[in-house]
Structure formats: C-alpha cells, structure tokens
Amino acid sequence: MGDVLQQITGAIVAIVVALAACVAYFWGSNWMLDRFLSSRKVTGDAETRRDHLRDSIRPWLFLLPALLFLSVYLVYPVFETLRLSVLDKTGSNFVGFANYAWALSDNNFQRSILNNIMWLIVVPSLATAFGLVIAVLADRLWWGNIAKSLVFMPMAISFVGASVIWRFVYDYRGEGDVQIGLLNAIVTGFGLPPQAWITIPVWNSLFLMIILVWIQTGFAMVILSAALRGIPEETLEAARIDGASDVRIFFDIMIPQIIGTIVVVWTTITIVVLKVFDIIFAMTNGQWDTEVLANFMFKWMFVNFDYGRGSAVAVVIMLAVLPIMIWNIRRANAEQGTR
C-alpha cells in the first residue's frame, strides 16, 4: 500500500512540476526577451532593429519545447532506426542490407506482408462501407443519433479490451458441449459443427480483422455523416423531384459529392491498419499464420533482442506509411496556399 501512495504522490508532483516548468519557461523566456532586447532606451535604427530581432526570436521561444520533444522522440529515432537496420544484432557491426535480405527470405516475414496486404484491403474498405451505410441510414431515422452513439462506442475501447470481447464471441468448446461463444452457438444452432475460429489459417485473420472493423466503423461513420450533412439539400431535393430512387441518389449523388472525405477516411484507417499490433499480440501472437509486421517486429526487438532485424522490419512499416504521409503533407501545403 505504501508504494501505491508513493506512486500517486509521484504522479501529482510530476503534474505540478511539469506545469510549473512550462509556465516558468514560457513566461520567463518571454520576460527575458522583452527585458534584454528592450527598445525603450534606444532610438531610430537601433529601435527598429531590436523590434525586428525580438519578433524573429519569439516564435522560436514558443516552439522550442515542442521541437525538442519532436526531435528527440520522433525525428532522431527515425534516423537512428534507419542506421540500426544496416547494423548487426547488437548494433556494433555494419552488415549492409543483410537484415533486409534476411527479411525477404524469412517465411514469417513473407506471411506478415501477405497478411498485412489482406488487412489493408479488407479493413479500410469494410469499415468505410459500413460507416457510410450506417451514416446514411441513421440520418433518416428519429433514433439515428442513439444508433450512431452505440456504433461509435467501440472507438473508446482499447484494442486489447476489444480482443477479449471478441475472443468471447469466438469461444470454442468441444463438439457436444454447450457453446458459450455467440458465434459457435449460432453455428451449432444451424446444426453445423463448432469451430475453433482463431486457429483456422486464412479465415482466422478475417476474424481478427473484424475486430478492427468493429472499432473503426464508428470513426468512418462520424466523419462521413458530417460530410453527408454538407451536401446541399437542394441537390438531393432536385434528384427526388426528378424521381430518382434512394439507391440511385446514394450512388450517383451522395458518393460523388463526398468522395474526397471517403478517401481521407480510407487512408486514415489504412494507417491504423499498418500499425496494428495489440489485436494480434493479444489474440494469437502470430500463431496459426496470423502474423503481421508490427507484431513480427516486436518479436525480433523484444523477444530475440535483435535490434538490426527489428529495425529493418520497422523501416518496412515506415516505407508502407510513406506514400500516405507524403500525400497528407501535400494536401496540408495546398490548404495553406489557399488560406
């Protein structure tokens, strides 16, 4: 009990110290800038020069802590991981592309790549499709908001929590026993034999993907629902007067109008999929051919302690994210241009 109290006190102290440090830094550095580069006692050119100097230093004072954190925790590691990926197990000898060559020839790596591709095809498509359908349906019903809230709820649940929830759904008991897993209860209800779902290769990956679809659909739904509201009512009304059916309106008017948003949702979920780790780690830990890159990397890094190979796999994940990253940056830059 004593160490729990100490731990809580430690956390509270940390919050206070961190906030005090932030306030002291920001307030203090600003005060010093105004104090030591004051233009009060100088005139003419010197005054404008000092004004100018202060204006060019201040942004960096505002940015410094953030840049420091970003550099140490995100930018430097990217380069360090790149470097480690061409070194050996302990990071002491240069081995060129041996780690990558090993990866390409490793069965589990190939399996991971294949599985990741499957995940990339299935999860974003299903989550976006379900999200869109639910958004469209919910917007037309009086209880739509309650429905959306319930579908959105899994977004708040951790991947591990969701894994336990679904493992319970997929639970398997021997034939003849009472099935307490929902899926096997339904299957045996139709007179079919029960299955140990998460041990059947290829299909088991699909059952794991369903967990992520279940989580991400709420995200897709919320974003797409907002986009649907942005479609001018006159456009829809005009189509209705022309006698277009609801299905035609959906495919010929709604989807083209919000296609940009659909792409954004799709890519955002794609990023989540590329990094997916917790679900595989908790459900199968890569057994029965369900390995994916993130879990494979974790094994080489923290089970085999091979920093070279672990880094090489991390770089592969990074390379997969890169196109979307570049696309995002270009989009952000384009927006700035129009502002």
């Binding site: 956390a11 919050i15 930018v75 359908v133 899994p154 951790s158 591990v160 319970f168 796999v313 927006e335």
Partner: protein
Amino acid sequence: MTAVAEPAVLTDAPAKPYRSSWRKRLNAGRVITHVLLLLLVALWTLPTVGLLVSSLRDKDQLAVSGWWTALRPSESLGVTRIGTAADQVAKDGHFVISGNVFGADTNKQLGGFGLTNSTPGQTPPGGTMPMSDGGTLTVAANGAFAWTSDTQFTHTRGPRVFYLAEIAPRFTLDNYYEVLTSNGVWRSFINSFTVTIPATIIPILIAAFAAYALAWMRFPFRGFIVALVVGLLVVPLQMSLIPLLTLYNQLAQLFGAENGKTYQGIWLAHTAFGLPLAIYLLRNYMVGLPKEIMESARIDGASHFKIFTGMVLPLSFPALASFSIFQFLWVWNDLLVAMVFLGAQQDKLVLTGKLVSLLGSRGNNWEILTAGAFITIVVPLIVFFALQRYFVRGLLAGSVK
C-alpha cells in the same frame, strides 16, 4: 417497389412531392431502413453486452451456458461420493447415511440423479434408487439425500452418484471482487491512472504555444515545420522504440538506476507521441479564430504573449478539450508504449498489459477475463459518453480539413 399508381387528381397539386415521399417513407423503404439499422446496431453492441452480462453472472453458470441464457436456470452435470460405513447412523432399526449432494452450495436445484455418467437423470428428484452396496437412495429436490438400509453398511469407499443440478440464475459482483483483489487488477487500475493523467496534461501547454506560433506568427521555415508536424502524425511508433529504449537505458546507467523503465520516462514518451496531433489540432483551430481581433489587439500594443494567454488560450478551450480526450483515450488504451517503456513486471502493468497477461494465464476463466476487460474499458466509456461532443469535434477537425 413503391410505384403503386397515385390518384391522378394529386398529380398537379403543389404538395405532391412532399406527400408522395411521405407515403413512400411510410412503407417498405422506411421499414427496411429501420430493420437494417437495428440489425447493424445489434451487431455492434451485442459483443459488449455479452461481456458485461457475463461479468455479472455466477462463475459456474457462466462456464456452462451462453450469456444470452442468463435469465434461465442452467443445468450442469455433477458428481459426488456419498459417504462410507463410518458415516452411518442407526435409526428406528434402519441404518442411514445422509447429507447433501451439493455440499454447502444452496442455490442449486436437483434435476435428477443416477449411478453412471451417462444416466444422471435416471431417477427424478424425490425418487428412490437401489444401490449396489445394499439399501436404497433417495435424493430430495434440494439435494438432501438419505441412503437407507435394513442391514449395517460395511463399505469403506462411498459410491459415486451422478446428478443434474439446476442453478437458478444468479447475478453477482463476486467476479469483480475477485479480479480486483486477488488478481492485481486494482494495482493496474492505479498504474493506468498514474500513467494517463500526467501524460494527458503535460503536452497541452507545450502544444498550445507551438500551435499559436505556427498559426499567427511569421517566421522562416514555418511551412516546413507545419509539414513536419503533419508528417510526424503518421510516423509508426515502431520506429521510435529501439532508439528511445537504448537512450533511456543509457540515461539510467548514467544516473545509476536499475533500468530505464520509469513513470517519468513513459510520461515524456507519451507527451512527445501526442504532440503532433495536439499541435495539428490546435493550430487548425487557432487559424480559424477571427483575424480582426488579433490585429486590433496587436495595434493596441498587446504582445504575442499577452494575446496568446489572454485571448487565444481561453478561446481555444473546445480544441484543448478535444485533444485532452484523445490523448486520455489513447494513453489509457495503449499497450505497446507501456510494455516497452514501463515493462512487464506485475506491479508495473497497466490495465491493458494486465489484461493480456490474464489472457495468457487465465485464458479459459471467463469470469476473470470478462470482469477484467470491463474494468479496463469502463473509464474510457465514461469519458467517451460524457464528452462525446468534444470527441466528435476533434475527430472532424483532425481528419478533414
């Protein structure tokens, strides 16, 4: 499917489009919409409902029947040895061995009993069954049995009696009590809070200052830094793990600590990993604040520092709230960062890590897993339902701009 002929009279009436669509909605299309959405919502909520219901059930019932039968009594097969000659009592010229087949368990009802594994329901409750060691056995519905014989019992090994027990539905908080006390989940609960609260609060001010600079100050490389932040939004954490862990371990050596796995370390790591989203969200929000107010304040001689602390920060409250919710949920639900930077020691596990360890060690004890899982998800669910508005706003600002 709704093209049933409309009365011709209505064709030219101005209200026609409205009326026809109203009618259309009333029939098939409308019903299908309701049913379809209901089905989808059921699909999305049933797994969680199942978990919650199961976590509240008696653990014996949970193990033998599906959660959807929670309100019905469940039937299970039981077996017991019913006593030896040493237990007999002489009574009215008979010899009797008595007791209860359920032992001390009082919430069970007998469905039947028998002598073999395959015939547990052979004799109904209250019925009489001859025994191979002599005499007859009667078991009442409440499990009380009496084995009566005219001759003295001599056996030294009690015969086995198989029975069907009906357990009345029972809901209890026992599973939660057990998980919290004997499985160390309580400690993990505290650990999760210890990690999450500072990791949510620390980044806010750091990000807010940076976001203001990127939104309202002019300086070289501003575009580049914005692009960098957008890029870092999607950099996989996997890239950061090895270098940072090495760095932490070196620092720990420098200070003579045991290893680099400390709460301080994970707070700072989460702070950094949350910063790109924080800066991005806040900058997008601050850019949208009215330019006129800023400019007039500048003309009045207010410094950037004053404008920021006096106007922008209070005005940005919705965006700050959105980010805080994101960061809270992300840190609370995180498994990878906690495992790498805090370790897998039992007393340092956060809830997600604890749940994974329970999955490994108690994989078939669903009473433990369901209660444990519900404890890990209940805090985010409360945050989520209480502050959904800010969460949705943040999502919209963060992804579509």
